[in-house]
Subunit: 720 residues, 2 copies
Amino acid sequence: MFTRVFFLLLLAMQVISVVPGALGDEGMYPMSELEKLDLQAAGLEIDSSLIYNPDGLALVDGICKIGGCTGSFVSDQGLMLTNHHCAFRAIRDASTPEHDYLAEGFTAGTRQQEAPTLGYTVRITDSYRDVSADVLAVVDEGMDPQKRTKAIEKKMKQLSLAEEEAHPGKRAEVSEMFLGKTYVLFLYTYLKDVRLVYSPPLAIGNFGGEADNWMWPRHSGDFSFMRAYVGPDGEPAEYSEDNIPYQPKVVLEVGSEGVLDGDFVFIFGYPGTTYRHRSAAFLGYLSEKYMPTVVDWYGWQIQNLEASAQGDRQRELALAARVKGLQNTYKNFRGKLQGIDRLNLLAVRRQQEKDLQEFIDADPVLKENYGQVLTRLDEYYQARAESAAYDLWLRYMLRSSETMSAALTVWENAIEKEKPEIEREWAYMERNLDQTTNSLVTKADTFDPVADALIMGELMKRAGGISQAEDLEALDGMTGADGAEKARKYLEKSFKKSSLMEPDTLLEAMNKSTEELKKMRDPFLRLVAELYPPYLEMREENKRRKGELDQLQAALQEVKRQFQGKDFVPDANGILRYTHGRVEGYSPKDAVHYTPLTTLEGMLEKDTGHKPFNVPARFRTLIENKDFGSFLSEDLGGVPVNMLYSTDTTGGNSGSPVLNAKGQIVGLNFDRAWEATINDFAWDHSYSRSIGVDIRYVLWVTWKYGGAEWLLEEMKVDFE
Amino acid sequence: MFTRVFFLLLLAMQVISVVPGALGDEGMYPMSELEKLDLQAAGLEIDSSLIYNPDGLALVDGICKIGGCTGSFVSDQGLMLTNHHCAFRAIRDASTPEHDYLAEGFTAGTRQQEAPTLGYTVRITDSYRDVSADVLAVVDEGMDPQKRTKAIEKKMKQLSLAEEEAHPGKRAEVSEMFLGKTYVLFLYTYLKDVRLVYSPPLAIGNFGGEADNWMWPRHSGDFSFMRAYVGPDGEPAEYSEDNIPYQPKVVLEVGSEGVLDGDFVFIFGYPGTTYRHRSAAFLGYLSEKYMPTVVDWYGWQIQNLEASAQGDRQRELALAARVKGLQNTYKNFRGKLQGIDRLNLLAVRRQQEKDLQEFIDADPVLKENYGQVLTRLDEYYQARAESAAYDLWLRYMLRSSETMSAALTVWENAIEKEKPEIEREWAYMERNLDQTTNSLVTKADTFDPVADALIMGELMKRAGGISQAEDLEALDGMTGADGAEKARKYLEKSFKKSSLMEPDTLLEAMNKSTEELKKMRDPFLRLVAELYPPYLEMREENKRRKGELDQLQAALQEVKRQFQGKDFVPDANGILRYTHGRVEGYSPKDAVHYTPLTTLEGMLEKDTGHKPFNVPARFRTLIENKDFGSFLSEDLGGVPVNMLYSTDTTGGNSGSPVLNAKGQIVGLNFDRAWEATINDFAWDHSYSRSIGVDIRYVLWVTWKYGGAEWLLEEMKVDFE
C-alpha cells in the first residue's frame, strides 16, 4: 500500500542522511528500564549513571512535579523552571487591582517580593519499588471482575498508607504500570510553599495563543520561574515568612550555548497517558465513538460559551481558562482523529491483530490460553460503544457544569465519609480530602451561572433520543426539544434559588451528611441526589469493566510479547519517564519541510498588533535594536525562540527540561506538533515532534525584557 | 533594519551553499539582450546560438502564442503543448449534450476527432526590428502631452500597416519597450485553424482549483495538447477539413527524464506587464489607492455573484469563468499588497529615490535636466490618486457588467468607424474589428442579467459620495443608498426591455451608426450614450497623462541608468522574453521550507472526494497500483507532479515550456507562488518562484490516464 506512512518514512530517510548518530526513538522509559538502553550509542556524552543512579544522586533528582506539570531545579536556592501555562493560575492569583501580572508579566525584585501561590505543591520522588506481587496476591484467576478491581484498589491504598506510616511526612502512591499486571510504589516528598519569581507577560508567554496551539512554527515564551520554600528546619511546611529556600538534592546546569539542528537531546518528565498497547477494538471505540462525541460536545461548549460572554470582559475572563481547556482537548482530538485517518491506523492495527491471531491459532497451548482474547476485546468495546451515548451523556450532565460537578462532589463526599478510610473512593479519603475541597472552592471562584444554565439546558435537550436518559425521572418532561421550555424555566428558577456555589456554602456542605444536605433544599443537590443511583450504577459497572479489561489487556500484552519476541515499554501513566531524540525538523506534507528552530524574526512576521499575535512595543524595540547579548545564534541570524525535537512525549510532559548530551538544560518542553497529537496511539520518527522553548530565549527574555539579570547569575549562566 | 528582506536573504544564502553553479536571476530578457549574458556560466550546456539565433533557426522558434498564453511545438505535425486553463474555452466549446469534456477530459483518437476551436489563433514571431527612431521622430521636446501620445500612437499604427503591406498575410505590431523611449516592430504569422487534441478532466487539469491558485505545494495537471493546421498550400487558413497539420520551423524536444532539485532551467514566453522601473509614487498610488479599490470591488462581486447563483447549477456554470477571473486578480492583488507590506517596499523605494535625488542634486547639469523628475512624478500620481475614486468607478460602471461593456463597444464602434482607419482607436481599426466583434459575441454567450443587474445596482449605490458620479445626469436620483429603490426599478424595467445581449442583435448593432443605434431605443445604449462624453473626457485625459508620464518615466530611466552605472532589462510588455533559474525551493516563513517537487502521493493527501480536491477513482487506482512506467522518480519515491523554479515570470508566461540545460522541455509553466505575486514590482531570489507542471506528469497522465500513447510516440518520447 502506497500510503502516507510509507512516504513519510521515505522522507524521514532523506532527513536521516544528514543527521549524524542515532535518531529519536519511540519510548517513554521508566527509570527502571534505562539500564537496557545504550544511551552513549544514542548520543549521550556523559555516563548514564550521571543521569540516573538508583544507588545515589543523578540529574533525574533535579526534576520535580509542580501541579500537573514537570519542573526542574536550576539553583541551590530552590529556583525552578516550568511552563508559563503551568504557573498561569499563580500569576492570576498574584494579580491585584493595581497590577494585572498576566498582562504585565511578573518580576520579583527581591525574595520578599516573590508571590505566594494557592494550591501549588512541588513533588519530589524519593524512591520506588515494584509491588506487583503484593498487589496481585489479592486476586485470583476466576474472580468476579468488579470484585477484582475493588480488591486491587484496596490493596493499593493499603500499601500506600503503610508506606506513609513508615515515612512520616512523606506521601506514597502505587501506580499501575501495565494494566492489571505490574504495580510500583512511589514515595514522594511534597513541598507546600511555592512562590512565583518571574513570568513574562501573556503576550510573550502565550504568544500565538489558541491559534498556534499544537502548531509549528511556534514562537511562544511558555516559561516561568518559581521557588520552593521549606520551614527553617528544612522540612516541608505551609507558607510562612520564616520559611527558607529549599535546597534541592541536585541542581540542573543551564546550557546557555543552546543547540544546533541535529543535536542529541533527552527529557525527564511525567507523561500522562498513552494507548499504544491497546487493541484495535479500543482504537475503533475511541475514534468512532468516544472522540467524535467529545469533539462535538466540546465544540458546542466552546462556541456557545464564547458567544454568551462576547462583549462582557469580566465573564470572558472568568470563562477564559475553562474555554482554553476545552479548546486544548478539542484541537488535540481533532488532530488525533485526522492522524488516525491519515495513517489508516485502524486498518493497520486490525492487520497486526490478524497476524497475531494466526500466531496464536497455530499453537495449541497459546490457542487454549489466548485464543479468545481479541474476540473478547472486540465484544468488550462493542458493549462500551453501545452504551457510550448514555454513559458520556451522564458523565457530562454531572461534570460539564461547575454547579452539577460541585453538587456531585458534595453529595458523594457525604456518602463516602460514612465508610472506613480504606473503603472510600480515592478523592474522599482523609489523606486526599483537603485537595478535593481546595479544588472545589477554586472552581467556585469562576462560577458563571449563565454558562452553567446554557450547558445544562443543552444536555437536557441532548438527552432526547437517548432512551436511558429520557427515562430518568429527575428530568421528567425536560428532555429533548419538546422539553426545552420546561427545562429553561426549571433552570431559571433553580439558579435563582441555589446558593450552593458560594465558597462558604461549599465548605460547610463538605462537612454535612446526606440528611443535612437534604435540609439545604438546594435544587442542584436534589437533582444530583436523584441522579446518584444511576451514576453509582455506572461507576460500579466501570469497575467491573476495568476488572474485565485488566485481565484481557494483561493477556494481550503477554501474548504480543511472545509474538514479537521482545518486551515493551509500558504505556505512559503519569510516573517519571525518560525519552531521547534529536533536534530535527520534519515534513508535515508533500513538498513542505519544517526546520527545527524558530527565531525572533518569525515572531515579528506574525505580529498583527492584536491578540494573540501582539508583540509588546518594548519587546519589538529590543529586537530591532538587536540587543541580543550572547544569545544570538550566528547560524540562525537571530535569537532562537522555539525548538522541535524527536523525543517521545505526551500531555504531562509540560515543563520538562530538554537536556543536551552533557545533561545541561537547553530547552523547556511545552507542546507537540499537530501531526504528533497521534503519538498517544502511534509514535513515528517521521512525524512525532515535541515543541520546546529554547533556553536562549528563556534567558534573553528574563534578562533583557524582564530585567531579572540576577536570576541568570543565580543560575550561574555565562552571559554578556 | 532587521526586516524580513534581510532574513530572507540570509536564508537564501543558506540555500545557495547547497546549489551548484549560478542562481536564478532577475530579468525577463528580450531576445536582443541575450548576447549580453553568459548563459554557459549560468548553467546552459548547449551553445547560446542554439537557443536564439537572429540569423537562423533556434529553439526560440519553436515557441508560439496561443490566445493570451504561450505554447510550444512538440512535433513536426503542429502538435502544441500549453496549459489546460489556456485551452479551457476550447474544451468547453467542444463539449456536447452527450459529452462534458471539461468533466471527462478530451482525447482525440484520430486526427479526424480533433476538435476545431472558436476564436483560437496561434501567433509565430517571424522577425522584429528596433523602430524607436522612426517613432520618436514624430514628437519633440515641448509638445503637448496629449498630442504627443496621439502622434506616437498614429506612427505606431502607420509602421504596422506599412509592414503588413510589405508582407501580405502577416501581421505587424509595434511594441513599446521602455515607456516613451524604445519601440520595436514585430512581424507575426497567425495560424487560424487550431484544434484540441488531448485534455485531462478538470479534476486533474485544475486540481486544487481556486483554493490552491497562487499556492505551493501544488498538484495541478494544468496542461493540454492542441494542434495547428494550415491550408493545403502551407499558408495560414481558416478551418477546413482539407487543411493539413502545420510544420513548425523548429520542434522542441521533450526531456522525459525530468529534473532534479538544483537543475538549471530556462523559459521563453510572453510575460505581460511588470512595474519594476516605476517610481515610488507609482507604487504608492497602486498600493494605497488602485489595488485596495480593485480588491474591494472584485471581492464584492465574487461574494455576491457566487451567492446569487448558489444552487442554480446552470447560472453557476455560466458565471464560473467570470468569477474565476475575478478571483485570480483578487487573490493576486491581495498577495501583492501583503508582499509590499512584508517587504516594506514603499519605504525601500522612497529611500532609493532619496539617494537618487542626492545624486542628481550634486551635479548641476543633472540637476538642471532631471532635478524635478521625482517631484513631478509625485505630483502626477497625487493627481491620479485624487481622481481615482471617480475614474475607477466610471471604468467599472462601463465595464464590470457584460451589458454595459457590450453597449459601450457597440456605441464607440459607431463613432470610431466614421474616422479614417489610422485615426481610430486600436480595437475599432478594420484589421482588429473581427476580433473585437468575436469577443463581444463570445461574452454574450454567458450573459447573466441577474448578475449584471446586481453589479449595476451596486455601482450606482457606490456612486454616492463620489461627487462627479453623483452629478451625472444619466443617473439622476439613482445614486447612493437613497437612490437604491429608484435604481432597482430602473434596472428591472431596463433588463426586461433590452434585447441587446442577443448575439444577432449585437452583430447587427456593430454595423449601425449612432443614429441607427438611437432608433433601437435600447435602455443600455441610451445610458452609454449619456455616459460617453464623460468617458471620452477620461479617455483623452488618460492620453494626456500617458504623454506626460512617458516623458517623466523616460527621464527617470535615463538618470537612474547614470546613477547605477548600468543598463536595465525593460519591464515586461507582452513580447517574447527569456529568463533562467534553477529548480529550487524557498522559505515562505520562519522555520518553513518548501521543497521544489510535489508528488502523486501529495495529491492523494489532499484528496477530499469533493471539488476542487477530487481525485478521480480510476486515477487513484493507477496510483495505488504504482502503474508509473518509466516516469517514477527514484529520488522522490513517486511520480513528480509540479515543480518550483527561480525564474523571473509574470502573467502571460502561462503555457511557457520550462527547458533544461540541454534545451529539452522538462515542464510547463502555469503559475507563481504566493510570495512571488510581488514579482511585478520586485523580483528577489529568496521568494520569487514560478510553478510548472513536471513533464513526467504530463506524459504519465497523457499515457496512462488519457490512453493517448500515440502522442508520446509522436513526440518521440522514450517510455515504457
